[in-house]
């Protein structure tokens, strides 16, 4: 089987699955409604910032049901996946889903950019923010894919969201302390190892903050974390067998 055919077919399968998920349209509609509301009530600039902060979640959402559902339902026990081809397909889903999420994000970004260029409100910084958001999205795909070996259905996404909520609550609680973590985040100043460690955990749970200029440099760390989860995925997939259902 030529690799180009394999990639084309794998992309087709991933795309059809993503587009058949009704919940995706609910998410995109909700996101569009929220951003549209901010635009109407406030400004183009603020709604663009909202978009840049939130769009990495499209990547996270698209990673739902990434691995275990297909492994357990038996759909991989098919002639197109013989001789271990199912392993290539599962690992390459990282690329397919990244590209699909990127297409959605790019479409929305293009609309914002077009309006901004026409009205003269567009800044080159927005492009850098978008690229940082894409790095966060890539991390979400690799993390979501890894978690989906352990959490079926959309619960891999739910685990991340719960982690984010818990982090958010922790952040609010830290606001009561003098020079709490929330202050350090705002000033991007992390004087000791404890606060730096907290930052790494925070980035791991909510990488969306990369889109803020102060955290652009952390994109490198997030890319490294994404690679780490890809390596873990590769190990899981390498040892994977399609056992009796």
């Amino acid at each position: 089987m030529p690799v180009s055919h394999r990639l084309e077919v794998g992309f087709f399968l991933a795309r059809r699955k993503v587009l058949s998920a009704r919940s995706l349209y609910v998410l995109l509609t909700g996101l569009a409604a929220l951003i549209g509301y901010v635009w109407v009530k406030d400004s183009y600039s603020l709604s663009f910032q909202f978009f840049l902060f939130l769009f990495p979640h499209i990547f996270l959402f698209i990673s739902q049901d990434m691995m275990m559902d297909e492994i357990e339902t038996g759909v991989l026990e098919n002639i197109v996946f013989v001789r271990g081809a199912f392993r290539d397909y599962l690992f390459e889903k990282n690329i397919y889903l990244f590209l699909i999420a990127l297409a959605f994000a790019l479409a929305a970004f293009s609309l914002f950019a077009a309006y901004g260029l026409a009205s003269g409100e567009f800044s080159a910084r927005f492009l850098l923010q978008f690229l940082a958001g894409v790095a966060a999205g890539a991390y979400y795909i690799s993390l979501g894919g890894f978690l989906s070996f352990y959490f079926k259905g959309g619960s891999n996404v739910l685990v991340v969201i719960i982690g984010q909520l818990a982090t958010f609550i922790g952040l609010l609680l830290s606001a009561t302390q003098r020079l709490g973590f929330i202050d350090q985040l705002t000033s991007a100043s992390f004087p000791d190892w404890s606060s730096r460690l907290k930052l790494i955990v925070f980035l791991g749970v909510l990488p969306n903050i990369l889109v803020f200029e102060k955290y652009f440099a952390a994109s490198v760390g997030i890319a490294a974390l994404a690679c780490f989860f890809l390596v873990l995925q590769k190990m899981k997939i390498g040892a994977l067998e399609l056992k009796k259902r």
């Binding site: 089987m1 399968l13 699955k17 759909v75 026990e77 002639i79 197109v80 013989v82 001789r83 009796k244």
Partner: protein
């Protein structure tokens, strides 16, 4: 060109403490139908999955001396969001077949297995179990495999379809293909098989040509099978 399309040597596979398959060895030749017989839990499906690369053997070697084998599982499952035509489309794409060829083979294979091509416009998940099985035959055969592996070939099929599928196996054999049928329906296998492989508790007890068994006056497959299970 070698006559052998599949060679299995000393295959072994454990699931925890359970030794599902141990020291399984046999070969499969072109232009022949092999019946792989065994009780429930004898290790038939584990052997098939190891041959196809869905399971990693703990020991032993599997060599398929042909292009990708065709495979029809006992209970085929398909991507629920895809229509039959889409599944055939990407299968054909993967194996480098053009659309005109695909159209021709779909017509003749559908007729051969008694599958209504109009169903291709529907999602495979909505088919009856029998039609899902027929569709699995269709998907496997459009790529014209040299070796077709079928797990419980007649399960979910009605008597008319059973006759059609039986004739299909004979036709494939005439075309020089190898057909490997894993089943416990001895009477059906007796009608079409050229070779028999009997597996019990993960070990191959007999690998023989039916022609030879006939010459030796041992060709009552059911009696032969039961003799290993008394």
């Amino acid at each position: 060109m070698s006559d052998v399309v599949l060679q299995v040597e000393n295959l072994a596979k454990r699931f925890g403490r359970v030794e599902a398959v141990k020291n399984v060895s046999f070969s499969m030749r072109r232009g022949a139908i092999a019946a792989f017989l065994g009780e429930n839990g004898a290790g038939k499906t584990t052997t098939i999955k190891a041959i196809l690369g869905f399971l990693k053997p703990d020991a032993g070697r599997v060599e398929t001396l042909c292009r990708e084998p065709g495979y029809v599982p006992e209970h085929p499952v398909f991507f629920p969001w895809l229509k039959g035509r889409e599944i055939l489309g990407f299968t054909a794409k993967l194996f480098g077949m053009d659309k005109a060829y695909l159209g021709r083979v779909v017509d003749w294979i559908s007729a051969a297995v008694g599958f209504d091509p109009a169903l291709l416009e529907r999602k495979v998940q909505t088919y009856s179990l029998g039609n899902q099985k027929k569709f699995s035959y269709l998907q496997s055969l459009i790529v014209s495999p040299d070796l077709l592996i079928v797990d419980e070939p007649l399960s979910s099929l009605d008597p008319v379809s059973i006759k059609s599928v039986r004739e299909l196996f004979l036709r494939l054999k005439e075309e020089g293909k190898a057909v490997f049928l894993s089943s416990h329906l001895i009477s059906e296998m007796e009608k079409i098989a050229d070779d028999v492989i009997i597996i019990k508790k993960g070990s191959v007890l007999l690998e023989e040509r039916i022609e030879r068994l006939r010459k030796e006056g041992r060709f009552d497959l059911e009696r032969l099978f039961l003799s290993f299970h008394e």
